[in-house]
């Protein structure tokens, strides 16, 4: 039972983890001012407020008399314990809570405020109501049962976990047992070598697993805000291993984890570093061009690089792939609600002053965006039930955060705000203005249907900004699961449609649904653009770029 429960929790969390999304945090100030706005609203519209209080009173009366049929949403797993529905006291407790939550929501939705203020207020009210859920209290029937089953040990364990988290985890419930994994030991174990290193990145070449390889190598550019080993997590969940076993020469970039000293690193620095890496890959493989893959913010970086190369008329990149990348930042996510001019400016100034943006702080903000999946279920599991936090590699990776240099963070914020990639010449990197329509090579684009970090419609719109021929594929999963999508998953689905229409909805309506993973589909797409087969090289690197050390290298270990 506990095991199954653990899997559920981690599954739920991994569908919702932030992944790399270097945007704005929500300043506590904004939350407070929104909370004040909510409180003011009660006084400003007394009649409206009293009406809802009255309606709540009626609903509670029904609950007390046992005549209420209010029930939790079917996908709300919190109240799945039968006690909540069978025990009359517990049922009344739950129904009162649900009625209160519902009434608060209708009250604010119908309040006399601007739509944006209403959305913000809903967010703040949700923060409060979710925190006060009956399941988060010591009265939670599951917790009481555990208490009796274990003779009180669960309470002791829970308090121990609480104390540990207060000391080591900034008071947030641990999402994962951080001692269960070690990078290079049981994560990121695919064989390879670091063949090039500069200030900004390490370039890892993976050892071919086939006798023959295609001429044209693949270079993977991960996001800057997480460690690279999402592409080489475990032997089963490793895109790098999948590529080398599919006859492709595979190189992956591992970004350095910047500190205060790298405050001034911006997009141009990253692009210059990538240009060096590309030259190294071409020199090692003897190919005249390569195929690239950029994920999330790594995709933004890759596309900027391609625009820069197009401006220089250099043809070093033959084709490329974008994974869950948003270039057209006109998105409506929860974060965007709070991202006004002032908070963006404040976020930029804060990170510039401290030199870096801490990935940990970022993760915290996003945890509060989905408190039920990322905070309260751990609260229940770790503290109330006294269980150990789950052992789950994706969550370990997600908690192994990196920092972002202040300048890059500032530029990402600026990209988010002014959306320059949608206009030719509006972004200038390494001294050249960029026009994405001039990027004419074929590209492959993947988005996730259930991705609320980079919504797939935004990815779709972004794909239309580029000048080359696009193969757009929609996976049925969330942000990270879209990347980690090894073949053989019976539930795996993806949609393809060779007709790029104007409208994402229309594209999806006319799309073909395919089973299993997009990895295989993508492999065939890569093979079609990979040149001829040749014998696999016997050694990694070459005389100019000798193998320096075994994968996963040094930078990945920098905490």
């Amino acid at each position: 039972m506990a095991n199954k429960n653990n899997e559920d929790i981690s599954q739920k969390a991994s569908e919702n983890i932030l992944g790399p999304n270097p945007v704005v945090g929500i300043p506590a100030r904004d939350l407070l001012s929104t909370a004040r706005l909510v409180l003011r609203q009660t006084v400003k519209q007394p009649i409206h407020s009293l009406k809802h209080v009255g309606r709540l009173g009626l609903a509670v009366k029904d609950v007390m008399l046992g005549r209420s049929d209010i029930a939790p949403a079917p996908d709300d797993k919190r109240f799945s314990d039968p006690t909540w529905s069978l025990n009359p006291l517990y049922r009344r407790y739950m129904q009162t809570y649900l009625a209160w939550r519902q009434e608060l929501n209708t009250w604010i939705t119908q309040a006399d405020l601007t739509p944006q203020d209403i959305s913000r207020a809903q967010f703040v009210i949700a923060l409060m109501t979710e925190a006060m859920a009956p399941t988060n209290t010591a009265l939670n029937p599951a917790a009481l049962k555990r208490f009796f089953e274990t003779g009180g040990k669960s309470l002791f364990d829970g308090l121990t976990h609480l104390a540990q988290d207060l000391v080591h985890n900034g008071g947030m419930p641990s999402q994962v047992n951080m001692n269960a994994f070690e990078v290079g030991q049981n994560l990121a174990t695919t064989k390879g070598s670091v063949v090039f290193r500069n200030e900004v990145l390490e370039l890892i070449q993976y050892k071919p697993l086939t006798e023959e390889v295609y001429e044209r190598p693949v270079l993977v550019v991960p996001p800057q805000i997480n460690k690279f080993y999402v592409f080489d997590l475990s032997p089963e969940k490793s895109l790098a291993r999948y590529l080398v076993s599919s006859h492709l020469q595979t190189f992956v970039v591992s970004w350095r984890n910047p500190t205060k000293a790298q405050r001034e690193w911006g997009l141009s620095t990253y692009i210059e570093a990538l240009k060096e890496a590309i030259d190294a890959v071409l020199a090692i493989t003897g190919s005249k061009d390569l195929s690239m893959l950029g994920a999330c913010s790594g995709g933004v970086t890759t596309v900027s690089l391609l625009g820069h190369l197009a401006a220089l008329k250099e043809k070093k990149v033959h084709s490329f792939t974008l994974l869950v990348s948003v270039l057209d930042t006109d998105v409506k996510t929860q974060v965007a609600l709070f991202a006004d001019e002032k908070s963006i400016e404040a976020a930029r100034r804060m990170s510039y002053q401290s030199g870096v943006l801490e990935g940990r702080d970022m993760a915290k903000v996003f945890a509060w965006m989905r408190p039920n999946d990322l905070i309260w279920n751990y609260w229940v599991n770790n503290y109330l039930l006294g269980n150990e936090p789950p052992v789950f590699d994706i969550l370990f990776w997600n908690n192994d955060t990196t920092r972002l240099p202040a300048a890059l963070h500032g530029e990402f914020l600026e990209l988010f705000k002014t959306n320059p990639l949608t206009r030719p010449g509006a972004l200038e990197v390494c001294g050249t203005p960029i026009d994405l329509k001039q990027v004419k090579c074929d590209f492959f684009c993947i988005a996730g249907l259930n991705d609320h970090i980079t919504p797939w419609e935004a990815c779709f719109r972004s794909a239309r900004l580029l000048g080359g021929k696009c193969e757009f594929v929609l996976s049925s999963s969330g942000h990270i699961q879209s990347i980690l999508n090894p073949p053989g998953n019976p539930k795996g689905r993806f949609f393809t449609n060779s007709q790029m229409s104007e409208d994402p909805k229309h594209w999806l309506e006319t799309a073909t649904k395919q089973s299993d993973s997009w990895w295989q589909y993508w492999r065939d797409w890569l093979h079609a653009r990979a040149g001829k087969l040749k014998p696999a090289p016997a050694v990694l690197g070459n005389d100019d770029y000798p193998a320096l050390e075994a994968a996963p290298g040094t930078y990945v270990h920098e905490r």
């Binding site: 205060k260 405050r263 001034e264 690193w265 911006g266 997009l267 141009s268 620095t269 900027s304 100034r349 510039y352 002053q353 401290s354 030199g355 300048a407 530029e411 600026e414 990209l415 705000k417 002014t418 959306n419 320059p420 206009r423 010449g425 509006a426 972004l427 200038e428 990197v429 390494c430 001294g431």
Partner: protein, 287 residues
């Protein structure tokens, strides 16, 4: 070392004449504004400016009552001076700048960084302190400092230089002569006004709110401001790093070649910053 030119302008700001000197640079660095020490005219920092990267634009000026600037009839305080400096920058057409403050000018630099956070990008403090709340130097040294005589009578300056400036001045008598030769006095009153500005001034209660990336440079043989004061600054300013130099109070001038690279590294920015142009939006009509 190619001959570098300074552009001198004397401008009128708020009824004050201010003598300014700008060493023009290339556009890709944030310009650096220098706040000089007490009684010191802007020529005294030229050796230091020459040592900096020629691409860096540098602005120096004589505070009221020093060098070529006019002496006000009434005393002034640091907040007023910081405002005057901001007005001067407006006049010369500078937006965001980096600031370096030396000794007495370090106090002004702290005030400027605190009062104009959006204007001052990075802050460098050299041989300075948090004002009244400090560990003072030896009384004899401070007494010598309390008089402008060394600026008015250069031979006296040469005599006392080893005691008050320490470091290289103890070892090399020629230094003091060279230093004294550049001094351009403006009379006693200006010096006393400057002393008065520092009277009772302290930054200790708001140092923790200076959020700029800050470089604190200290000489380890500084008779005027003992090293411990600089340690205090670096400890209180949240984003500060301390760098100790093996010299006396005027290391910026005597060790210019050693200090300049440290400063340039701290001020370094990307060579080719990404430029992001906002969309031109027509103002929305009010509903």
């Amino acid at each position: 070392m190619p001959q570098q030119h300074f552009i001198f302008r004397t401008i009128e700001v708020d009824g004050q004449f201010l003598r300014t000197a700008v060493r023009p640079g290339q556009g890709n660095h944030t310009p650096l504004l220098i706040f000089n020490g007490i009684g010191a005219n802007l020529e005294l920092v030229f050796p230091f400016v020459q040592a900096l990267d020629p691409e860096l634009e540098v602005i120096a000026f004589d505070v009221p009552g020093v060098g070529g600037s006019s002496t006000p009839l009434t005393p002034f305080r640091f907040p007023g001076l910081a405002r005057l400096a901001a007005r001067m920058l407006d006049y010369l057409g500078y937006g965001q700048i980096n600031v370096i403050g030396v000794s007495w000018g370090g106090a002004l630099a702290q005030q400027f960084a605190y009062d104009y956070p959006e204007r001052c990008k990075k802050l460098i403090l050299a041989a300075t302190s948090a004002g009244t709340v400090m560990v003072p130097g030896r009384p004899g040294v401070l007494l010598k400092m309390a008089s402008p005589r060394r600026y008015i009578q250069p031979s006296h300056g040469v005599k006392i230089a080893p005691d008050i400036y320490g470091g290289s001045f103890r070892r090399d008598p020629k230094l003091a002569k060279a230093h004294a030769a550049k001094v351009r006095s403006s009379g006693k009153l200006g010096y006393y006004w400057q002393l008065f500005a520092g009277l009772g001034w302290t930054s200790i209660h708001w140092l923790h709110r200076i959020k700029q990336p800050t470089l604190v440079l200290a000489g380890d043989d500084d008779p005027i401001i003992p090293l411990v004061n600089m340690r205090l600054l670096a400890w209180r300013i949240p984003n500060a790093e301390l760098h100790v130099i093996d010299d006396g109070h005027l290391f910026l001038v005597t060790r210019a070649d050693a200090v300049a690279p440290i400063i340039m590294r701290f001020l370094a920015e990307e060579k080719q910053r990404a430029v992001i142009r906002p969309q031109l939006v027509r103002p929305a009509t009010k509903p």
